[in-house]
Symmetry: D2
């Protein structure tokens, strides 16, 4: 932590800050510049928050943290890329992983039809929401346990792995029973009670970046899961909220290589929620491959016009198959393979 | 819902959209402009999402919703301002309500000292976090039940009402046992499972606006609570996340009179989290009164430098007393009273 | 400037960074923490950009600037508040200044009617756009010189000072001939050629904060004007662009007391552009007074429904007179006077 | 334009709105829903702003524009992609165009060395700033005319085309004399005086998206240039300002295919300014190709550590040559060629 004093700070104020630093268990190091004094606080100390509090002490201009606060998920700690395993499927390895399926599980027919289609097109994981976090209480809230059972049935039928969202600690157990991968939605990225619960779960977790979460906050949320015992974490960039409304969100693709620098966890991209427009899913998927993502999670619906949620961004099975065929060549350029 | 066709849409495409509108249970109304056709979809229909899906149909340029999706919390439905009652305390009436206390309950001494001080200065409610949602898993996570008990003790001692945050459905029961008002934090504003649970709770709820939530989303989250049975809701503006980093968040004060136009629920302002700087709390509090807020929630700590969280934005008891004295005059100009 | 090394930086890398710092004319100061080395670069050096370049050198984790880059406009340099003078009018002193008038100068009748009305209600300055920066080339672009002449006529008639926008260096001379205060619009806040030109102008400048400009950038733009010779600068908060669309912009009122801490320049608030809604102008104006602004700039139109621009946010003369009457009491609480 | 009435609007209010619509030269069309009345305003009318003004009329809930306000640059008007010509170079055709060079022209040696290197690596256009819009008045402001002459010399030497920024109307003539393509920087995207001036210029214009400009505003700024006579416009996505600070800006890559849907103008991507980090330029460049960009503009400096501006994001000539070699394969997948 670096404490910058104001240019008119007195020697007494400087000494007082040094004294506080010592009292909090750190060692102060002074740098006397021409215009002002800057103090580094070194050591483990009691509590970084105490140093932050110096921000409001007379003579202090600013308090600047130097260290990244995440550890377990950081590349500095572990150079080697993590491979997340869902049964025999590896995410983060040489295979490029595609997860596909409807926004919501609606009916048996809808789900089986989609599962068959995405399987045939080469997807590896079936996505589908059984518990739906919807902005309005009057929107469809999901089939819940019935949806989980349909997902499990689709898995039996196709051999696809299954991913679905868990929205509250109380459901974590039942969802983990049915699903191969547990998804944390964007709105729950900082639901810390849920993250702690999933840290004690024996299932890989796909953690979606919150709509207005920084990359640092995403990694700290991953750190919650990891520090509670579960290091099988997949990060997911799904678009952030900005002033631009022409797309549903702003797809922050540069976050992918940056996350790869900062962390060893695999990173997948959700072009469907990020753009909110069917026509943009294909180009965004190709770009996600080219920028270094480890996989994609894409919405597919047999009849998007009839979808109970997210119709405008859902691909038809035929559209999805076309994208999969085209992706093959981009995946190869990255020295990876699709199937 | 309004469906705008592209300027080159064919008559077949227009008819197809009308047909879909009818199939979804709505009635289409055509407006033929000079450049393009616009279609209104009228009626209750099966599902607004179906209309949204038309966005991706050939010939459709845009789908624009007209109605606000919240109902119970809307001023259009209920003109009269809601008064929320916590025991004999009324929030949303002529009395201007001040909630004050530490970010976190840390120790018995810290809490009682603060409670005595804010009571003496004229506050009505004691705030203090027992369950703390912290960005990093390595930060202090709260005293939990022990903290709740200390809050209850402070209530006995001072006669202040108590407000504290509930972070997960599983804790809703125990928090409701000890606390007069239940707080939903910004990170949980769209934790819909929690909102539904609080809808079935017999306690007033203070709902903080999410860091990147629109006013419409805030009202829809309130609608979750209301539609599940609890209409005792206080809205709280606490700053939103923007590109500006000079303040912790950007205090959206104009949201207060706008919420007063759109909804009948009382609105309070949290100048501490919004600005993140002690020196800005006083001017922001005065402005909150002048712009029409029904109350304030302010962080006070006996020794901000030693605070385990949010020290830089916490007032000292003396600083808080000064603000309370000054607010008196501003509150009076609004034809309200403080004590 | 502080350079933080990565935790695995080698001694060679550290030495290389120190060597670069010396080569750029600064002196390196090492702080050896338990996890990593942090280096302070002290002195005037050749160019701060050179230090920034270290960001991409092997072994460097981050480069953190410590000093604020603005000087002349900073409170650290000059404690005493600046009073800007437009003839006998003082902005930044004990008098609270109100500037009012139409968005655009449309016709002689419209301007004179407005000028008479705002003068009668107690305004000090008449605003009105002669050169209009409009998002679309098909919108009304202003009366230009004819508009300037009408403003000058209104000044003769009422005794009000006049403020109008200058949109390009080429017009700076002619606008300065007719107008008492020159306004730089939000879209031109970083039109540095214009700022330099106004720095050589003998007229006070009102500098509007850019739609997505930080407070630091606003002060640096003021520094452009000041460093080119003109220290008669009024800062203006007019709302920033965020994800929220319920208001036209997000009024960042907390920026007012923050600017008062960081700079000695007077600060006024534009509640009309910030909110974009007539009904919010009154509460936002009261809040601006209470939070410490030195003045307001408000849009008034005799018949807002017929306005050629910004009708929805324009007050009627009657509405403006009501606000002025109410503001009187809030201004008095701040130990200031209106008239 | 669609005018939605409130649910409690009276018949008188509805009639009054219809009357206003007629008075403004439009024809009202009523749609009576179960909850409220919605009115379409059809025709060319006098002024769309007048309709916007209805927003503040009693009984009106909202005014929603339906038409996109840009015309000349719109795909609806012209299906065929525009090819911009700079001499014999075509931008927007089958060749993928790469512009490369230093942020600022610093010295003769620096520029010639860079020009030779980027030419050898296969670039088509040399970039380099002679007039620099810098946030701080104390930063290097460019070599101005001397810089233009060096660029012209580098063109003679290498055969590369030259692109450089014009920052004010007064310099447009001289810059057009020396440069093949005129660049409008992000901060000047809404400098409408400059856009009008470039509309009367006989040179292609590269228009950078403003830091906080929507896609609609970018297209309206292009419309300014086009409607003043110059249709040789290249759009440039260079990152937008968001809450995320880990990258310099947030690269909005999905804007590329969206711009291709909405407009016929070519689109290039600036991965250097968008990310601000050298290590992200390579992956972002590949992604830009894959998502459908027509070209790239990349910062290259012979010794980034010594750069007078933007060193951390500048590539070395060797790094640039590597990227060019790798891009070849991605460009081929898009059925385009590089050289």
């Amino acid at each position: 932590m670096i404490i910058a004093m104001t240019s008119d700070a007195t020697e007494e104020q400087i000494e007082e800050v040094c004294e506080s630093i010592r009292r909090y268990g750190y060692t102060p190091h002074l740098i006397r510049g021409e215009e002002r004094v800057v103090i580094g606080a070194v050591g483990q100390g009691d509590n970084k928050d105490h140093l932050q509090n110096l921000r409001s002490v007379p003579g202090v201009a600013d308090v600047v943290p130097i260290l990244q606060p995440y550890k377990i998920v950081s590349r500095e700690l572990k150079q080697q890329k993590t491979i997340v395993r869902a049964g025999d499927l590896e995410i983060g390895g040489r295979q490029f992983i595609v997860m596909a399926g409807p926004c919501s599980v609606e009916t048996r027919e809808q789900l089986m039809e989609t599962a068959d289609a995405v399987k045939a097109a080469g997807a590896h994981v079936l996505r589908g929401g059984a518990y739906k976090p919807r902005t309005s209480p009057y929107d469809f809230q999901g089939l819940e346990v019935e949806g989980l059972k349909l997902l499990a049935e689709a898995r039996e039928r196709t051999g696809l792995k299954v991913i679905t969202e868990v929205v509250t600690t109380e459901d974590a157990g039942i969802v983990a029973e049915y699903s191969d991968i547990l998804q944390v939605g964007a709105r729950n990225m900082q639901n810390f009670a849920l993250l702690k619960r999933l840290g004690r779960c024996n299932r890989p977790v796909l953690l979606k970046r919150g709509m207005s979460s920084t990359i640092k906050e995403l990694l700290l949320s991953a750190e919650y899961i990891a520090s509670h015992g579960n290091d099988q974490i997949i990060l997911c960039e799904r678009g952030i909220r900005t002033f631009e409304t022409a797309t549903r969100n702003t797809l922050d693709l540069a976050a992918v290589p940056l996350l790869n620098e900062l962390s060893h966890l695999p990173v997948v991209v959700d072009p469907s929620h990020a753009t909110g427009r069917r026509s943009l899913v294909r180009p965004a998927s190709k770009a996600a491959v080219a920028i270094g993502a480890d996989g994609l999670i894409i919405e597919v619906h047999p009849r998007p016009q009839e979808a109970w949620s997210d119709g405008p961004q859902s691909l038809t099975p035929a559209g999805f198959a076309e994208i999969m065929a085209e992706l093959q060549k981009y995946v190869a350029l990255e020295s990876r393979y699709l199937n």
